[in-house]
């Protein structure tokens, strides 16, 4: 068997290295740097039912070891995605993870239905986007709403359902259990942290929507803790992310309990980061004489 293969609650990835939604477009750009078939999976930019124009600029503020974004789910809408992007992505031997978003709880089920016939591998229910006016993160902070949203998706799709959690909560375990109960097959975390920057010259928030989402290496230690906690709370597997820059970080996430991992912000810094991460993981596996990489998962708990 392929020693790098991981099972994300029924979604089989040929290796644990994926890329995070919103940081990899629909794969076209980074496809110019490496063969996308090297990746275990690609989570595409967050989609909504209808096309969205996103938030006004500026959309990015760099911070120490991280960045705040306020992109606001700019996307062509699910129909255009199905028509224009899936055929491109399907040319590669990798899993297509479709990040879905909604303003109201029902939007998620509508998205799931719109994707019913689409040739995709997983639906990632994003109940954690901090960059939209309604919905988004709010659903991910209340276990009952989270349950309802996920339940509706599960009931309306034939696809693998993963749920993306927000780190902006007191106790991630409560939310994780709620979505597990609702029938999610896997959990992905973390999304970005609510964050802010102020321009001391204008004396106003830099971002028009005032706050945005913090990502990048700065958040890694918190994200890792959240994965560790989630692992002990649920039985479904975890796709871990938050500040991963390479194999060392990725392995920490796996030891904490992530069955697979995603690189987000660091793709911007190094377009080859995901590929290098995979190589580093494989080197570690060999060095440690592990027959199956997945034996690492959660080992830091023992």
């Amino acid at each position: 068997m392929n020693p790098l293969q991981v099972n994300l609650g029924g979604l089989i990835l040929k290796n644990p290295v994926t890329v995070a939604s919103g940081t990899f477009g629909f794969g076209r750009e980074y496809g110019e740097f490496f063969d996308l078939s090297l990746l275990g999976g690609i989570a595409v930019k967050g989609l909504t039912l209808k096309e969205r124009s996103g938030n006004p600029p500026p959309r990015i503020v760099e911070t120490r070891g991280g960045m705040i974004n306020s992109v606001g789910l700019q996307n062509p809408g699910v129909e255009a995605f199905i028509k224009e992007e899936i055929p491109f992505l399907r040319r590669f031997d990798t899993r297509i993870i479709v990040n879905i978003n909604g303003d109201e709880p029902e939007d998620y089920a509508r998205m799931a239905m719109a994707l019913q016939e689409a040739d995709i591998d997983s639906i990632e229910v994003n109940i954690s986007c901090p960059n939209v006016k309604s919905g988004g993160m709010l659903f991910g902070t209340d276990p009952e709403v989270a349950y309802r949203v996920v339940r509706q998706v599960v009931e309306n799709t034939r696809h693998h359902v993963m749920v993306k959690l927000t780190p902006n909560v007191t106790d991630i375990r409560v939310i994780a259990r709620a979505v597990e109960e609702a029938g999610a097959k896997a959990i992905s975390l973390v999304n970005t942290f609510n964050a802010m920057a102020i321009d001391i010259q204008t004396q106003k928030p830099v971002l028009v929507r005032k706050t945005g989402g913090l990502s990048g290496p700065a958040i890694k230690p918190i994200a890792l803790r959240l994965v560790y906690e989630t692992y002990s709370a649920v039985k479904i597997p975890i796709l871990g992310m938050g500040g991963i820059t390479g194999a060392q970080d990725a392995l920490e996430f796996m030891l904490a309990g992530a069955s697979a991992i995603a690189l987000g912000t660091y793709n911007f810094v190094d377009p080859l980061a995901a590929v290098k991460t995979l190589e580093g993981i494989e080197a570690y596996r060999k060095e440690k004489g592990l027959e199956n990489l997945s034996d690492l998962v959660g080992k830091a708990h023992r």
């Binding site: 919103g22 940081t23 990899f24 477009g25 076209r28 750009e29 980074y30 110019e32 740097f33 930019k45 124009s53 996103g54 938030n55 006004p56 600029p57 500026p58 959309r59 990015i60 503020v61 760099e62 120490r64 070891g65 991280g66 960045m67 974004n69 992109v71 700019q74 990048g216 290496p217 820059t245 912000t265 793709n267 911007f268 810094v269 190094d270 377009p271 080859l272």
Partner: protein
Amino acid sequence: MKLMTGTIIENSRVTDEVFKIRLRMAQPFEFSPGQFINIKVSEWDAPLLRRPISISRRMDARTIELLVKEQGAGTRQMRFFKTGTPVDFIGPLGRGFNISGFKKEAPLLILGGGIGTAPLKGLSRDLANRGYTRVYVVNGFKDHPYGKEDFECYEYVEIDESKENRFVTDHVSASLNETDFQGVFACGPTPMLKRVREIFKDRGISVQLSLEEKMACGVGACLGCAVKIKTGPFDHAYKKVCVDGPVFEASEVIFE
């Protein structure tokens, strides 16, 4: 668009704040004026993100020149880039100036403000090389003008705002017959670009503005570098400076 390495063969001071870097690649490097590269400024990820810098001009098939103004941590690091060391960048990026479709003898106008003059150097030379004979360049600087010697054109005007109390656009209105121009190419601070658009509005000529916005990826993946662009009489959309730009037709740009 490729991940590339260049070797710094020169890093020298132009003014107190501005310096020029020459980068030599192992292979011939193709680009068009107005395109940029996205540079990794710190081996230690401090700052984390790459910094977009225009390609100012070509020195030879393998060598380009950058003109950089120190602004913050990123450009300060570049200032200390050592000769002989490698630099990791992504490039060439974006859509540069569109210089096709003009008559060779048509008067063309290049307008630069401060560090915005960087990509215009290469543009002026490209135009000259292609046989455009009536290229006017007007460059304005807050203080201590620089770079005149690198332009190739029919007429070069340099404005030192600290002494002259007027802007590039004032010169255009006052001293040039703006109705003559068949194409305008501008790069500089936003207020300047706005006035350039005003001046040449409704003339039916191509007025190309090079815009700036904060970038994360530089390659079109993050949607971070959005600018509002008209997509129809009543429609607009956020376009990406990094792939749809940095050069846009002035009539399409919506300044907010």
